[in-house]
């Protein structure tokens, strides 16, 4: 069994047409019941905000936005709710004097879950590799 920690951009890439949509779709379609997908607590608020922004800028209609949120919520993602993800992310951010903590939460949840991180973002990829977390980079 493999556990995958998905970055929000991999979720958005299957919902909205973007250059990596085919790669994102292949990832989601290739998962079997022997796989598990996890995400940090911040995943759903990030994806929801992304859809809200696209509805507000007019590139997605209100009805489509609501369809997309239903599809997002139907994806089999286990949201990690343990307090440990916040403690470890904060500790890491303080030690390395980083201003961005959301990225770190993905890496920390991957560590907690023994997961490989799946992302389209080179910054998240780099942060994961620094921590010895395996990465599937879909770009």
């Amino acid at each position: 069994m493999t556990t995958w920690c998905v970055d929000a951009n991999v979720v958005i890439a299957i919902l909205l047409n973007e250059p990596a949509s085919d790669a994102a779709r292949r990832f989601w379609a290739g998962l079997t019941q022997a796989d598990e997908v996890v995400g940090p607590y911040v995943l759903l608020p990030e994806c929801t905000s992304a859809l809200r922004r696209k509805v507000l800028d007019g590139s997605v209609s209100e009805a489509e936005g609501l369809e997309l949120i239903d599809e997002l919520l139907a994806l089999p993602i286990r949201i990690e709710t343990s307090a440990e993800q916040f403690r470890r992310s904060l500790d890491w951010a303080i030690r390395t004097r980083r201003r961005r903590m959301n990225d770190l939460q993905y890496v920390v949840v991957a560590q907690i879950s023994g997961a490989e991180i799946v992302t389209l973002d080179g910054g998240v990829r780099q942060a994961a590799l620094e921590q010895g977390v395996a990465v599937r980079f879909l770009r």
């Binding site: 951009n9 909205l16 994102a24 989601w28 379609a29 019941q33 696209k54 994806l75 961005r100 389209l120």
Partner: protein, 103 residues
């Protein structure tokens, strides 16, 4: 380790699925594996284990088709090609107040 009811222990299921027993128990608690708790021990339905090992899709094909249809419909209507990384970066900076390191 199979009982008359077609149940196997969580430890045996973990061995067959190459998981830890903790991962099997978590899946049972989440309802992702069918089984039951007898006393203080979890048991897994062997039939469900076979489905897992058969490589059944995690994301139901009908859900993928629905997502494809919505994505394609939006693309046909708007012609928009999005940038998922930029969208999420914008959310992190503007909605979560995160700043680029080094700013």
């Amino acid at each position: 380790m199979i009982d008359a009811g077609g149940l196997i222990t969580a430890a045996e299921a973990a061995k067959r699925l190459r998981l830890s027993t903790g991962q099997v128990r978590r899946r049972l608690r989440q309802g992702k594996l069918k089984g039951r708790r007898i006393g203080n021990q979890w048991f897994v339905e062997e039939r469900d284990l076979s489905a897992l090992k058969s490589g059944a899709h995690l994301v139901p094909p009908q859900l993928l088709r629905r997502i494809d249809e919505t994505r394609e419909r939006i693309f046909r209507r708007t012609g928009s090609v999005f940038d998922a990384v930029a969208i999420i970066r914008e959310v992190r900076e503007k909605d979560f107040g995160e700043q680029e390191d080094g700013d």
